[in-house]
C-alpha cells in the first residue's frame, strides 16, 4: 500500500468542505452561548487545578516504586525495628513515618507526631489491598501490594486522630485502624530509634 501524504490542495479542499458543512449545521444562538459557558466553566476548574498542581506542587500520591510485599520483614526499610516515626528528620526537615499495612492494622499501631510539621508517610502492604485515611485531612492513599505508597501531609492541630483503612481488605476490615496522636511542636520529642513505638 502506498501512503499518500496530504498536500496543500487536499488540505484546502478538506477545509472548504468542513466550512461548508459547518455553515449548513443549524446551531441556535442560545446553544452557542451555552456551549461557550460550559467550556469556560470547565476551563476554569481545570485551570484552578493546573495552578495548584504546577505552582504549589499539589499532586495525589503517585510514587511509582515497587517492593516485594512477601519479604517486607527482611527489607532494609520495612523491617520491624525500622518502622514508625524515624529519629532522623529528612534533609528538608520533614519527618518520615514508615508503616506496614496488614490485616488488620497499620503497624506500629500508635504513632506520635508534632503539629505543623511536614510529614512524609511511607507505607507498604504485607498482604492485600488497603487504604489509609486520616479523616478530615488530606492524608489519604491506597496501599497496593507490590508498591510503596508515599504521601505527604501536615497536621495543623494537636489531637487524637484515627488512621482508618478505607479499602475493603477482608472480613475484619471494620476493625482496621491505628491511632495517630498529634502533639504541639514544643511537646514533641523525637524517638531515639525506629520501631520503638507501641
Amino acid at each position: 500500500m502506498r501512503i499518500r501524504f496530504p498536500d496543500k490542495k487536499w488540505f484546502h479542499e478538506k477545509m472548504a468542505g468542513l466550512g461548508e458543512e459547518m455553515s449548513r449545521l443549524e446551531i441556535n444562538e442560545l446553544e452557542r452561548k451555552w456551549l461557550f459557558v460550559s467550556v469556560a466553566m470547565i476551563g476554569l476548574f481545570v485551570g484552578a487545578i493546573v495552578v495548584t498542581a504546577a505552582m504549589h506542587g499539589v499532586h495525589p500520591p503517585s510514587h511509582v516504586e515497587t517492593i516485594d510485599s512477601a519479604s517486607l520483614h527482611l527489607s532494609q526499610e520495612f523491617a520491624e525495628d525500622k518502622l514508625g516515626v524515624q529519629p532522623e528528620p529528612l534533609p528538608d526537615g520533614s519527618l518520615q513515618v514508615r508503616l506496614v499495612a496488614g490485616r488488620y492494622g497499620f503497624y506500629p499501631r500508635e504513632i506520635e507526631v508534632p503539629a505543623g510539621r511536614r510529614i512524609v508517610f511511607r507505607m507498604a502492604s504485607m498482604d492485600v489491598l488497603h487504604g489509609a485515611h486520616i479523616p478530615m485531612t488530606n492524608m489519604s492513599t491506597m496501599i497496593v501490594p507490590g508498591y510503596v505508597s508515599e504521601v505527604v501531609s501536615v497536621f495543623p492541630k494537636p489531637g487524637e486522630y484515627p488512621m482508618l483503612c478505607n479499602e475493603y481488605c477482608g472480613l475484619g476490615h471494620d476493625h482496621m485502624w491505628s491511632k495517630v496522636t498529634v502533639v504541639a511542636q514544643e511537646n514533641w520529642r523525637a524517638p531515639a530509634t525506629g520501631g520503638k513505638q507501641p
Binding site: E21, R24, L25, N28, E31, W34, L35, S38, I42, F45, V46, I49, T52, A53, V58, H59, P60, P61, S62, H63, V64, E65, T66, D68, S69, A70, D127, V128, L129, G131, H133, I134, M136, N138, M139, S140, T141, M142, I143, V144, P145, G146, Y147, V148, S149, E150, E160, Y161, P162, L164, N166, E167, Y168, C169, G170, G172, H173, D174, W177, K179
Partner: protein, 537 residues
Amino acid sequence: MNDATTTRLTLFNFWVAFGAFGLACFFGMYQVLERSGLFAFLQSPAVYFASVSTHGVLMAFVLTTFFIMGFGYYTAAQSLRRPVWNPQLAWAGYGVCVVGVVLAAVPLLLGKASVLYTFYPPIQANVFFYIGATLLVVGSWFWCAIMLVMFAQWKKDHPGETVPLPMFATAANALLWLWTSLGVALESVFQLLPWALGLTDTIDVGLARTLFAWTLHPIVYFWLIPAYIALYCYVPQAAGGKLFSDVLARTAFVLILVLGLPIGFHHLYMDPEQAAGWKFLHMVGTFAVAIPTLLTGFTVIASLEMAGRRQGGTGLFGWIGALPWKNPMVLAAILSLLMLVLGGFGGIVNASYAMNAMVHNTAWVPGHFHLIFAGTVVTMYLAVAYKLWPELCGRKLYSEDLPLVQLWGWFIGMVIMTTPWHVLGLLGQPRRISSVQYNSVLTLSWDPYEVAMVIGGLILLGSACLFVYLLYKTQAAGEKVEARVEAADDSAPWAPAWLNGFALWNRLILVLMALSYGYPILQFFLLKTHSPTAWGY
C-alpha cells in the same frame, strides 16, 4: 416495526433486568439496616460483604446490561423500521448472559465471592464468579454486534440519509461498550481466570487495577446513554413539544463516546502504581466529558421549556408549572435532572485531582454515585419501562397514579439516603465498612446520620417493590388494548457524515486510548514488579 420477536426479546431482557433490580433493593435495605448499627442481631461482616457484592453486581452489571440489551433491540427495530437482525444470535447472547449471571450468583450468595463488584485482587473469589462475570460481558458483545450490523445495513440501504437519533445513540453505546469492556476482559482472561483456576500463583495487582480502571469509568456512560436516549427522544414529545436540537444531541453522544473512554485513572488518584502526569491527563479528560452532560442538561431543559410555553406557561418560571407533571416520562425527566445536578457537583469534587484525597473511599462516593446511577439513570429506566410495557404487552398500564407515587418515592428516598452519605463522607466515614469499630471520638459525629439513611432506604425499597408490582400487574391483569406504538421522534434533519457514523471517531479513540493507556500498561512489563499470591477474605 414491532414484531413478535422484538417484543419477546425486549420483554425477556427487561424481566431479568427489573427482577435483578427488585432483588438488589432488598440487599440494599439490609445493608443500610446492618450498617446503621441500630439492630445488633443483624451485625455480621460476612453477610454484609456478601450482600454488598451481590447488590453491586445485580445493580451495576445485571440490571444495566439486560436493560440496555432489551432497550437496544426495541430502539433498533423501532427507529430503523426493520426486524432485529439474526434473532438466533440475539437469543444466544441472552442465553450466555443468563448462564453467566447464574454462575456468578451461586458463589455470591454463598459468600464465596465477597470481593465486591470491583473484584479487588489479591483477595480471590471462587472461580465461577469470574467465569460468570466474563460470560455476562461476552454475551453482551453479541448484542453489540447486532446493533452495529443493523446500523451499517440501514446506512447501506439509505445512502445520504441521516440515521435516526435513537439508533445513532444506541450504536454509539454499542461501540463504547466494546471499547470499554476490553479492559476488564483483558484482566479477566489474562489475570483473574488463570489465577483463580490455579494456573498461575501470583497476580500483578497494579496491572489489574489499571485494566479495571480502563473499564470502570466509561462503563458508567454505557449505563447513562440509554437514559440520555430517553431524555432526548421521549421526553420532549411526552411534554408536548419537540427536541430543541438534533445536531447538539448527536454532538453530545459523540463527545461522550470519545471523551468518556480515556479517563479511568480518576479512580486511581490515590494509587501508588501510576505516576502523577498520567493521572493529570485523565483528570483533564474527566472534566472535558462533563461538557456533553452540560449540553444534555441544556437541550433537555430547553425542550421542556418550549413544551411548557406551548401549553400556556408564561414568565421566567411559569412554563415549569405548565408541564404535564402527571406524565411519568416528564416527571422522571425532571426528577432525574435534579439528581444529575446534585450528583454532578459531587462528581466534580471527586474528579478534582487533589481534592479527591478528602473524599476518596468515604461515604461521599456512594452518595455521589447513588444520585447519578440510582437517581438519574435508574429513574429514566423506570420511566422507559412505564412507556414500553403497554406496547410490549398490549395492555394498559395497571394504574395511572401509582407510577407517579413510585417515581416520587424513588426521588425522595434517594435524597434522604444520599444526603447523609455526603455529610458522613466529609466527616471521614469510610464507604466499605459494615459497622463502626473505631474507638475514637470522631465517630460520635457520625451517629445522627444513620437514622436518615435507614428511612431513605425504607422509602426506596417500598418504591422498588411498587414498581415491580406495577409491571407484573400490567402484564398479568392490565386491560387489553390494541398495541399502539408511539414512535419516538425520528425525523432526522440533515447531519454531516461525521455526525452520522463513527469511522472518524473510532480512529480518534484509538489514538486517545494509545496515548492515555499505552505506557501506563506497558510500564508493568518494564518495571520490576512483584506480584502477591492469593488471599482469602
